[in-house]
């Protein structure tokens, strides 16, 4: 590819060449979907980091004289069943999920990439065994596997990261494996093998750099699903048992009152989750398109 571009610069107009030489992140900034997604994501990251400073009220302060009050000038998103300010809880609630999900996705991506490299490169029994495991994992909805293990291990930030990371591992491994199998057909691998390079070096030095775009795309897509999983587990009552507010757990505590007309305590944290996952999806989609060229 690079040879073609290098030997035939005459046919490429200056404008086109300038565009082609832009680094990937500059190309990303030209996509409106990426810019919108990144801005929403940035907003939530700011909330996660500086939440307590931005929040208009103390998210933990109870006021039993004004419980379940609808949105008003004093409480934009209303108050919950303990009289706490819903807006403040939504702002501060970004933190837990934004700590757990990137770490869980990272764990799954690192383990999955290593496993996928080995499966694709060695093939054989390892490939067969892990492929069966992926099938078995896919036969069960991820949320069910996750809650089986969370019930067993107890919900803490660490167990959530490990369980979700482990569930993602075979799924990411499968994608990386397909990418590795494409690479295996190429000449540079035969050359490396003829040069006597060892398997470890071939996998991590020769193949890995070439499958990095796949890995990056997989990471961004999986990040959205990690949020899906963590939020769903919290909604089912397997949220992290910490004092900081958490969107899914807040919804779990309040959705029973929906039928009674107290919609604000449930709807606003739900919309927060929706905006976060849609933002990540917009970013993931742009990265995917940029990686595809």
């Amino acid at each position: 590819m690079t040879d073609v571009v290098a030997t035939a610069p005459a046919q490429i107009t200056p404008a086109l060449r300038a565009r082609r030489e832009l680094p990937t992140w500059r190309l990303l900034l030209r996509r409106p979907s990426f810019v919108i997604g990144a801005m929403i994501l940035l907003f939530w990251i700011v909330c996660a980091v500086f939440g307590n400073a931005i929040a208009p009220h103390d998210p933990l302060a109870q006021n039993l004289l004004s419980i379940n009050k609808p949105p008003s000038a004093a409480h934009w998103f209303g108050t919950d069943s303990l009289g706490r300010d819903v807006l403040s809880r939504v702002i501060v609630g970004a933190r837990t999920i934004l700590i757990i999900t990137p770490l869980a996705t990272l764990l799954g991506t690192v383990l999955g990439t290593a496993l996928g490299l080995a499966m694709g490169y060695f093939g054989g029994w390892l490939d067969t065994l892990v492929s069966r495991l992926v099938e078995a994992v896919l036969a069960l909805p991820a949320v069910i596997i996750a809650f089986l293990f969370i019930v067993a291990l107890g919900a803490s930030i660490t167990t959530l990261i490990i369980v979700i990371g482990f569930i993602f591992t075979p799924l990411i491994a499968r994608t990386v494996r397909s990418a590795v199998q494409v690479e295996r057909q190429l000449d540079y691998l035969s050359s490396a093998r003829l040069l006597g390079e060892r398997p470890m070096r071939i996998m991590f030095v020769e193949i890995l750099p070439n499958v990095i775009p796949t890995v990056v795309v997989e990471f961004t897509v999986r990040l959205g699903y990690a949020i899906f999983a963590v939020a769903t587990l919290a909604f089912l009552g397997f949220g992290v048992q910490v004092s900081t507010p958490n969107w899914g757990s807040d919804i779990n505590a309040s959705y029973g009152l929906l039928g009674a007309g107290f919609w604000w305590t449930t709807l606003f944290p739900a919309l927060a989750i929706a905006f976060l996952v849609i933002a990540i999806n917009l970013v993931a989609d742009s990265v995917q398109q940029a990686a595809a060229g």
């Binding site: 495991l133 069960l140 596997i145 067993a152 699903y225 899906f228 769903t232 919804i251 919609w263 929706a274």
Partner: protein
């Protein structure tokens, strides 16, 4: 064809066996003592030990696994700790309820997803295509309970046009049951739309670029005829497979949707069993889901096989 199907069946059995191991191990590492959970915190230790023995949980792990597996092969799924009776009737009733909800969701989503994908493909690269694709992938990452809450707030609480629980009561007329299932079906539809639309889009784009589509156009057929007779027939094959594999996903969504709408289906059954540490119920429920998924996947394979004559000669792989 027979050899291929046998191979698929063998692989499905192996996968189910791995699944049974996962389910059993997960069930065993659940903390807490089942007898204690049944008898309550005030029961005497001797009573707890006696019930432990009666339930068989004091036997070695391997013995219990083999006993459980042997029972399964004879169609006996175990006895619920919480209800002190066989789990099969509970599983059966829940499965029927879930099947109703799942069927409604599929009846809406299959035509909608295919339509979305085909429209996107016919407008390849244009704004319509981007909007459909981005909407689909975004909807797929929004958790079911989030979209469920939004439709409850809009249609149930604000407009008051549809019921906010899914329980129509036993023996209710078909249309009443249907009315109660509309809101719970929406989140399932939203989550699956993206996948089905994406597959239909990819299949249609491939078919549009094919030689036979060009030939059909060049010999003067109308565009609508080319699309209907030549393109759709080929583009929908991969979509059928994806619909089947998404059945597993659909069931995962059922856990959440059935909890949110308080609907007595298999998802809520598993969830309640996990909370109550009712292992036999939990294991039977999870394994049932695995079996349903395997059957759906096998059915999809056979359907793909019978719809695509080329595979009958070459075999899939």
């Amino acid at each position: 064809m027979a050899r291929y199907l046998l191979r698929r069946l063998g692989l499905a059995v192996v996968t189910l066996w791995i699944l049974s191991l996962i389910v059993f191990v997960a069930g065993q590492i659940l903390p807490g003592n089942p007898a204690r959970a049944v008898l309550g915190p005030l029961a005497a230790p001797s009573a707890v030990r006696a019930l432990d023995h009666q339930l068989g949980v004091d036997r070695p792990l391997v013995t219990r696994y083999l006993g459980w597996l042997g029972g399964l092969l004879h169609g006996y799924m175990g006895k619920s700790y919480a209800y002190q009776s066989a789990v099969e009737p509970f599983i059966r009733a829940a499965l029927i309820n879930s099947a109703k909800l799942g069927a409604l969701a599929l009846v809406i989503i299959i035509p909608l997803g295919i339509l979305g994908g085909v429209v996107a493909a016919l407008n390849y690269g244009r704004a319509v295509d981007r909007v459909i694709s981005l909407t689909g992938s975004s909807a797929a990452t929004v958790p079911e309970f989030v979209s469920g809450i939004v439709v409850i707030v809009v249609f149930g609480v604000t407009l008051k046009v549809l019921p906010v629980t899914a329980a129509a009561g036993a023996g209710a007329p078909f249309l009443t049951q249907l009315r109660y299932l509309i809101l719970p079906a929406v989140p399932l539809v939203l989550v699956l739309f993206g996948y089905i639309a994406r597959m239909a889009r990819a299949g249609t784009i491939e078919a549009l670029e094919s030689d036979y589509a060009r030939t059909a156009t060049l010999k003067g057929l109308k565009r609508s005829v080319v699309i209907r007779r030549h393109i759709l027939r080929n583009s929908l094959l991969p979509t059928i497979t994806v619909i089947a594999t998404q059945t597993g996903y659909l069931i995962g969504g059922l856990v959440v949707v059935e909890t949110l709408f308080n609907y007595q289906g298999i998802g809520k059954l598993i969830f309640s069993a996990a909370i109550a540490k009712d292992f036999p119920m939990l294991e039977a429920g999870v394994l049932t889901i695995g079996v349903v998924y395997m059957i759906a996947t096998l059915a999809a394979d056979m359907l793909t096989f019978s719809l695509n004559p080329r595979l009958r000669v070459e075999g899939l792989e």
